[in-house]
Symmetry: C2
Subunit: 142 residues, 2 copies
C-alpha cells in the first residue's frame, strides 16, 4: 500500500503536477499488490464504476500516455485493435490467451533468454519482446 504522498512525490519528481485526477489514476493503477494489464477502456470503466469522481476520457488518455512516457507504464500491442498497458515495467514476455483475450506475464522459468546473435549494424537494441499466442487445446481435438 502506497501513501498518497508517495504518488505526489513521484509525480512532482517527473515534472507532472499532482492533480486530483492523476492521483486517482495512480491509486487505481499502482496501489495494488500485483501488477496488471489494462486497456484504456478498462481503466475508464473502472474509474467510472468504482468512484464518484468522474475523469474525462481525454484526461485518462493524456495521463496514461504521460505515465507511459515517464516509464511508469509499458504498452503492449497484440493486434491492430488491441493494445494493453502494463503496470509491470520490468523486462518480461507475455502469453496471450486468444480465448479469453487475457495477457499473462512470463517469467524466466517459462521463457528462456532470447539469444540475439547478430544485430543490425550501427543500431542499438531498445527492446526485445516475445509474444506467445495460446488457445484452447480443444479447438483442434475431436
Amino acid at each position: 500500500m502506497y501513501k498518497n504522498s508517495e504518488f505526489v512525490s513521484k509525480l512532482r519528481n517527473s515534472g507532472l503536477r499532482p492533480t486530483k485526477q492523476r492521483l486517482k489514476i495512480c491509486e487505481v493503477l499502482f496501489n495494488r499488490d500485483k501488477t496488471f494489464h489494462f486497456t484504456i477502456n478498462d481503466l475508464a470503466k473502472n474509474i467510472s464504476e468504482n468512484f464518484n469522481e468522474k475523469i474525462s476520457l481525454a484526461t485518462i488518455y493524456n495521463t496514461v500516455h504521460a505515465f507511459k512516457d515517464k516509464g511508469y507504464l509499458k504498452e503492449i500491442t497484440i493486434s491492430s485493435d488491441k493494445s494493453y498497458f502494463d503496470t509491470n515495467i520490468t523486462k518480461h514476455h507475455h502469453f496471450y490467451d486468444e480465448d479469453t483475450n487475457l495477457l499473462i506475464d512470463c517469467n524466466d522459468n517459462e521463457i528462456g533468454k532470447v539469444n540475439i546473435k547478430n544485430n543490425i549494424t550501427g543500431k542499438k537494441i531498445s527492446s526485445v519482446e516475445v509474444l506467445v499466442r495460446v488457445a484452447s487445446d480443444t479447438q483442434n481435438q475431436n
Copy 2:
C-alpha cells in the same frame, strides 16, 4: 516469376473467385523474388501509382484480409497505429527499425530458437513471435 494461371488456381483452390482485382493484387504481392512487408496504405499507393486499373480501397482491405485468412499473408503489429502485412508466411522473427519504420526479417542465425519451458496448462501454442526494436546508437535509448 509466377504465371497468371497459377494465381487463378491458387485463388480457386481456396474458394476465392479469381477476379481481375484479386489477380492484380496477387501479381503485386507475390510476383517477386523476395518477400516483403507492406501496409494497406503502401499497397493502395503502389497500385494506384503503378497501374492504370483502379481498385477501390474497400476491395484492397477485403482482399488483404481474405489473403490473410487463407494464410497467404501474415499480419505483424508493431504498435497501436502501425500494422504491417508480410508476404513471408514462414515462422520468423523481426527487427523493427524505429528510425526508418522498416521491418526486417530475422533468420535463425540472428535470433536463436525461443525456449518455452512452461506453457499455460490446457492451452496450445498458436504462435511465437519475437520483435526486436532497434534504433540508431545516438538516440532513443531505453
